[in-house]
Amino acid sequence: MKLNRVVAWAALVIGAIALVADYVYDGLLRRSLRRLLAAVRGGEEAGGVQRGPDGQPVSGITEVPESGETPVAFPDAELIRSCVHCGLCLPFCPTYNVLGVEMDSPRGRIYQMKLVAEGKISPDNPHFYKHIYQCLDCRACETACPSGVQYGRLVEAARSIIPPRSNVEQAARRAILAGALNSDPILSVIGVGSRLYQRSGLQKLVRSTGILRPIPRLNRMESMLPHLEGSLILEPLPPVVRAQGERRARVAFLSGCIAAQFFPQTNRSTIAVLAANGCDVLTPPAQGCCGALQNHSGDRETAKNFARHNIDVFERTGADYYVSNAAGCGSMLKEYGELLADDPLYAERAEAFSEKARDITELLAELGLRPPTHEVSARATYQDACHLRHGQKIKNPPRELLAAIPGLELVEMARSEWCCGSAGIYNVTQPELSESILDMKMENVIATGADTILAANPGCLIQLQHGLRDRGVHMRAAHPVDLLAEAYGADGHLDSNGGDGG
């Protein structure tokens, strides 16, 4: 019995490693398999010529058919029509700022979607793929748009109709996004593995020898790995932590998937700060991944399944609010209603779920922050996470909370509302553009002379830490609730009866 489990685990881990390796080696596995098959069949595919669906070789340049092609059913096509191509979004788009061309502007991307919806461009056109995936989905254009174009929904719809470039790529993507992120054991393995890797000195060796440099994607992922704190094997979060003082609300906490492994202290800070502000905090152990990354990459069906599961789990808590400390996840929770609008069993429940969803900073501002007592001496600057500022339209609450911390000086950076280039898995899939966007961000961050950079989203923190490390800048990167927890004197120890016990 035990042996069986070990074998099953080993098979799973090896399988996952193979898929990841294929992904980072840009299809090594696929190529090898194809060659093998071709050799067996004595076929012609060994040459590696890419072929389109019609069997014709795909060249770099695609003919744009003038007419005659059947229009593709573009989800939410009517949303395209709300764009009046006024161009006011252009200067607010990070990729347009770097590349300077219409193809990589929100207006231009919508025009490309329009051409696809009208059948003038095929959705498997490599140019279409390139420009739609070069989008950060940061939604800064939505904030700039006077016509209320729902760009985020549009770009996700566009991604959902682009056929995968190969079955193996799709499988790898699904294994990571739909499988690994929703599996606690795999997440734990990743967490423990990463800690071991850092603490055994292996990371130092890898970085000093530059052994990964010939494999750019893997090297890239390695360089993004943040400094991991906490014990090797993380203690699970307590399922219930009681409010301190008078109880003001019962909240259920979405603790996140990979972020829970990489930023365990932020989750503990969140629970401590909520308890200090009179909230009973329930962290349902059965909860799963929110589905945001899947939805952003066009896999709406997986996202829907995740949403249904979380609705089932969170409803049972009977909580007044569902809280997230990750902007991307919170934004997704607020979209469950829209995501499941066509599901007769879940539509109403999803709508009710989204109404209860709050970002941690939003909820604290709504309840009214209890004045923190401990001084936190820092000169901090705040980066607006895109899915907070543009996705959830939350600008002032985090700033107000930070202003309430005694001893904290808050310095605004220029263009704090610009994306840092992290954008989900963008910093791995689009390394060059991501770096250019990060360059603009770091320039503004460093110009503030701050000693602390704050962002309310784990993805942004990974990217900002990487940017600071690369430039040799010593600055603390943290979530605003980490500072708030310090301001309440929380020491990270949580017990079930009364916040952090202190």
Binding site: S82, V101, E102, G108, Y111, S147, G148
Partner: protein, 475 residues
């Protein structure tokens, strides 16, 4: 596919990454903010004046037309390459080259976004006055081409009043300078002739502009009326009494409803019209001015009056006005902005005549405009997916322009003539007037390659629009 010899020569000038010639990419440059469409055959993104000059010389050698483009926010089709050819996109030339604080001047490149100039000098207590509603995205080069205005040009003047000099790549590819930092240069005022020439006399590569100290204080009023006549009468009387506010903007009911759906600026949706009035300058006397305007509005049956309490409320009130065009996207898939000027006193009858055009052509028309200088912006709402509706819309637009001309007005307040109103120029100007302009064009651009098909009706009498077969150069 190999680039043609011509494209290769463009690549030699600006580098591979700054030339677009693939069919897919060119489709993304067939539009701007207007309703017109035309495909260029190549797009170049030069990074210096010298590169622009080389491109223009190359176009001359190959007899290929060229059109300059900035942010692509224009509303009259000024940057639409109607005769094909090369689209010279100036967004990569976007630096502030010099800020001369003592003399209140700045020297900028044409691709700089209008608002970014004001942001760059705000720390010094200065700003750049012309503020088109698209100022977050339109470029100073485009503003020079179209002689753009904006709400705050009532008191301070439009772009031509703020441009002191331009460095221009002439149609023959030579780099020249008109004007400069000094106010009164001897000789012809070529800067004046160049501003508003819509890219037909050359391409600006460096622009010297006036900076103005930020006003010490400002009062912003929102006056709500039950009839358009009362609002119009208020405008006339305010100015008639010698009070020149920095801005007087009017929004009619349809515009109000769209704006409220978009920004929730607190505009009443059931009013017939609102006026957004702003006075600025030295703090002393501002309250008196605001009070005088209040009294006039009340005398004309204003149903309510509100003065912005703080900068936040002021910004909110303005955000409604600035986002008004785009907000129309919430009530209609497309819109066509008409730009005309009429004497202020004629506003009530002209607005009524415009409403009549709407009824006649069965189209909804919203009005958002600079009432202070009689600069109208009727927005004709349409749906391009309905066959014939775009054509009907354009006809209605032309009819509105004729109403403006009959009322003693002109064809454009700030958007330029471009493609959309070229055919109407003959109704505004006499043959002799037109001839002088065409002579200037012919003298400076004898080949007619600089942005053909704009401003003047086709075919022009002195200038033949080149629609030469381009096969010879291997497109």
């Amino acid at each position: 596919m190999q680039p043609s010899r011509f494209v290769q020569e463009l690549i030699d000038i600006v580098g591979e990454r700054n030339v677009l010639w693939d069919d897919y990419d060119l489709r993304l440059y067939e539009y701007d903010g207007s309703v017109d469409r035309a495909l260029p055959q190549a797009v170049v993104l030069p990074e210096s004046a010298e590169q622009v000059a080389e491109i223009v010389k190359l176009c001359n050698r190959a007899s290929v037309p060229y059109t300059a483009r900035g942010g692509g926010t224009g509303l009259s089709g000024g940057s639409i390459p109607v005769a094909g050819g090369v689209l010279i996109t100036l967004v990569k030339m976007n630096r502030v080259l010099e800020v001369d604080l003592e003399n209140l001047r700045a020297v900028v490149e044409p691709g700089l976004v209008n608002l970014q100039l004001s942001e760059a000098v705000a720390g010094n207590g200065l700003y750049y006055v012309p503020d088109p509603s698209s100022q977050k995205a339109c470029t100073i080069g485009g503003n020079v081409g179209e002689n753009s205005g904006g709400p705050h040009t009532l008191l301070y003047g439009v772009t031509t009043n703020h441009v002191l000099g331009v460095e221009v790549v002439m149609p023959d590819g030579e780099l020249v300078e008109f004007g400069g930092k000094a106010l009164d240069l001897p000789g012809y005022d070529l800067t004046g002739a160049f501003v508003g020439s819509e890219g037909t006399l050359g391409i600006a590569t460096k622009i010297t502009v006036r900076l103005v100290p930020l006003p010490e204080d400002v009062r912003t009023l929102l006056a709500v009326f039950n009839t358009v006549d009362d609002a119009s009468a208020t405008v006339s009387e305010v100015i008639g009494k010698g009070i020149i506010p920095a801005a007087i903007e009017m929004l009619d009911q349809m515009a109000l409803q769209a704006v409220e759906a978009s920004v929730h600026a607190g505009y009443p949706e059931d009013a017939a019209a609102v006026l957004l009035i702003e006075v600025d300058g030295l703090r002393d006397g501002l309250d008196e001015q605001a009070q005088a305007i209040r009294d006039i509005a009340e005398a004309h049956n204003a149903r309510s009056l509100r003065i912005a309490k703080d900068a936040k409320e002021r910004e909110l009130l303005w955000s409604g006005r600035k986002g008004a065009f785009g907000a129309i996207g919430r009530i209609s898939p497309e819109y066509y902005v008409v730009d005309g000027v009429v004497p202020r006193t004629k506003l009530p009858e002209v607005l009524e005549a415009i409403a009549e055009v709407g009824r006649q052509y069965d189209l909804r028309i919203a009005n958002v405009f600079h009432a202070g200088d009689g600069n109208l912006h009727p927005l004709v709402l349409f749906d391009g997916a309905i066959p014939g509706e775009l054509e009907r819309t354009k006809e209605a637009g032309a009819e509105i322009m004729r109403i403006c001309i009959r009322a003693g007005g002109v064809l454009s307040g700030e958007h330029g003539i471009g493609m959309e109103k070229a055919e109407l120029m003959g109704e505004l100007f006499s043959d002799h007037d037109m001839e002088v302009m065409l002579k200037l064009k012919a003298a400076l651009d004898p080949e007619g390659l600089a942005n053909p098909g704009k401003i003047f009706p086709t075919p022009g009498r002195c200038v033949e629009i080149p629609r030469r077969p381009l096969a010879g150069i291997g497109w």
